[in-house]
């Protein structure tokens, strides 16, 4: 749980700041791979995964339990996914698969860029200048409780093309998380640093560059990791309701066309791409906040 500077921040930030991303399975494979392989855990990990797959297979294909029997089994999915000539036209050997991935990534990238470009400066400014936050905070509080997916119809109504409304939705998903965490980042900076900088004769612009910016950086990056998660979250909804391409659309389209294995392929792809995405941001963050890492590793 992220400590907040004052009680009043807590309710405001509850939902977004505390849904903090965690070090996941994939990150472990990267960093401490050797150490990880030596302990007993890889076998247990494997046991869990294999058990899950076997259970999936048994329920859907061998025992053919009611309800489960309608779902595609793991073998169907994998066969389709890695088939050179897929039955339903989607596998790692088809161009279409990558077009869906590419378009979803592009949308997330654009939205994420916009959300970061607007959210980080606004958040930093709100944290730094009380006057600004006095004006901006009430409006933010007015808009924030509305779940981002409730914006779907309005987004479609507002924007001239479907493409722009999907990007807008995805943007909304990331924007608030970025804004609030950047703001919280500035709030988390010890007042003594501002005083020390003022003592040492720093101008406002220097204080911004040398205190506000680096000091808020750890929170900003936490915010970015959360925000990219939210971006994928809203992207899927947007694509399902309004898309003409993309992984979310693929899921929905395959459902309509009764191409069930493709649904699972698209879901797993979404999870994979999403994980890689937040992993990349974490790596960038760790690189930019080296001073913090050294501090804790003393």
């Amino acid at each position: 749980m992220i400590e907040t500077a004052s009680g009043s921040l807590k309710p405001a930030l509850g939902e977004l700041s505390q849904g903090r991303p965690r070090a996941g399975f994939f990150s472990r494979v990267g960093g401490g791979a050797k150490r990880w392989l030596r302990g007993p855990s890889p076998w247990l990990n494997l046991l869990g995964l294999v058990g899950f797959l076997v259970l999936w297979h048994l329920t859907t294909r061998v025992l053919k339990l009611p309800l489960f029997v309608k779902l595609p089994g793991p073998l169907d999915t994998v066969k389709e996914w890695f088939s050179i000539q897929p039955v339903y036209g989607i596998s790692i050997f088809t161009l279409e698969y990558y077009q869906h991935i590419g378009l979803s990534c592009l949308r997330v990238f654009l939205a994420f860029l916009l959300a970061t470009g607007l959210g980080v400066p606004l958040g930093l400014l709100m944290g730094w200048k009380k006057t600004f936050s006095d004006y901006a905070f009430p409006i933010l509080e007015l808009l924030r409780p509305i779940p981002m997916l409730a914006w779907v119809p309005l987004a479609i109504l507002m924007w001239p093309t479907r493409e722009s409304s999907i990007v807008f939705l995805t943007f909304l998903g990331s924007f608030f998380a970025t804004l609030l965490n950047s703001w919280l980042g500035v709030k988390s900076i010890d007042q003594a640093y501002f005083r020390a900088a003022a003592c040492l004769g720093a101008s406002e612009s220097l204080i911004f560059r040398k205190i506000v910016w680096p000091g808020a950086m750890p929170f900003v990056f936490t915010g970015l990791q959360i925000s990219v998660g939210y971006a994928w979250f809203s992207l899927v909804a947007g694509e399902m309701l309004a898309g003409e391409f993309g992984l979310g659309y693929l899921i929905w389209d395959s459902y309509i066309l009764v191409q069930y294995p493709v649904i699972i392929i698209a879901m797993l792809t979404l999870g994979l791409v999403g994980s890689l995405n937040s992993l990349a941001i974490r790596a960038l963050g760790n690189f930019l906040i080296r001073w913090k890492k050294r501090e804790s590793g003393q």
């Binding site: 003594a192 900088a197 040492l200 004769g201 680096p214």
Partner: protein
């Protein structure tokens, strides 16, 4: 060698009013601090010492009275002081910027004020650190060095601005006894070399008498000056001084004064502010 640095606090008062209940932190406190004097302020917790320091530093305004620096009005209720590089604060919990290396921290002041170019500031920072025996840690981040080193580095950062006044708010509070004596020695050397005016807040009476040329014992809140002790022990001082009878009697005198106020504060149920 710094020029000037005489501080005159005249009838300074400060009322905190966080939620309507006015708290008088400083009550018509007057204090004369000569140029280049090593002043130590002792008093019970929460008595308003830090309030006074903050007013001199320019972090908040006074509710009454004035503060002068070298005869020039520094702070009054109508004209609050602004922080300036002629008065540098070394903070209670330390405020080295954790995202800058030690030399970057030391070079920050001259660079921020635009008095030196980046290269010149770096050169000056490095030579300053060397003169203070800190060149080994120049490239480290504050998080990587010991707390004693951090305090020294922060003093080095302050001195790089060549301040007239050095304001220290219980800088060595968190250090263990051994590290503390090393830090004292360090501060003494810095003081003996550059002779800034020092305004040093502490609870530790040994520290107070050992470092000071003048000790101000404050009353419990609202703070006022209860007693002034002139410490005429010769400089440069070192730890052997602690055994001398002059030191012992000064310390005892100081202790008596502080204890009386501490008891008052305790029975009034004061808590750390």
């Amino acid at each position: 060698m710094s020029v000037g640095g005489a501080i005159s606090v005249r009838e300074a008062s400060k009322i905190y009013d966080p939620d309507g209940a006015g708290v008088l932190a400083l009550d018509r406190c007057s204090m004369e601090i000569g140029k280049g004097e090593f002043t130590v302020v002792v008093g019970p917790s929460g008595c308003g010492k830090t309030t006074l320091l903050n007013a001199i530093a320019g972090f908040h305004e006074l509710s009454g009275g004035e503060i002068y620096l070298d005869g020039r009005l520094l702070s009054s209720p109508s004209r609050p002081a602004r922080p300036g590089s002629d008065r540098i604060v070394v903070f209670q919990n330390g405020a080295l910027f954790p995202w800058m290396t030690v030399w970057e921290n030391v070079a920050f002041g001259p660079m921020a004020q635009g008095t030196l170019s980046k290269e010149a500031a770096k050169a000056k920072a490095l030579s300053g650190l060397e003169a203070m025996g800190l060149s080994l840690i120049a490239d480290d981040y504050p998080g990587q060095i010991s707390s004693g080193m951090r305090r020294r580095a922060e003093i080095a950062r302050a001195m790089a601005c060549e301040p007239k006044v050095l304001l220290l708010d219980e800088p060595f509070r968190a250090l263990d006894a051994l590290t503390k004596t090393v830090a004292h020695q360090f501060l003494m050397e810095v003081y003996d070399r550059d002779r800034p005016t020092v305004f040093f807040i502490t609870h530790d009476l040994d520290e107070a008498v050992f470092l000071a040329s003048k000790v101000f014992v404050m009353t419990t809140r609202p703070a006022g000056v209860k007693k002034i002790l002139e410490v005429t022990l010769p400089r440069p001082r070192d730890y052997r001084l602690l055994a001398s009878p002059e030191y012992q009697s000064l310390r005892a005198e100081c202790q008596d004064a502080v204890r009386e106020e501490a008891l008052k504060a305790f029975s009034a149920g004061e808590r750390e502010m």
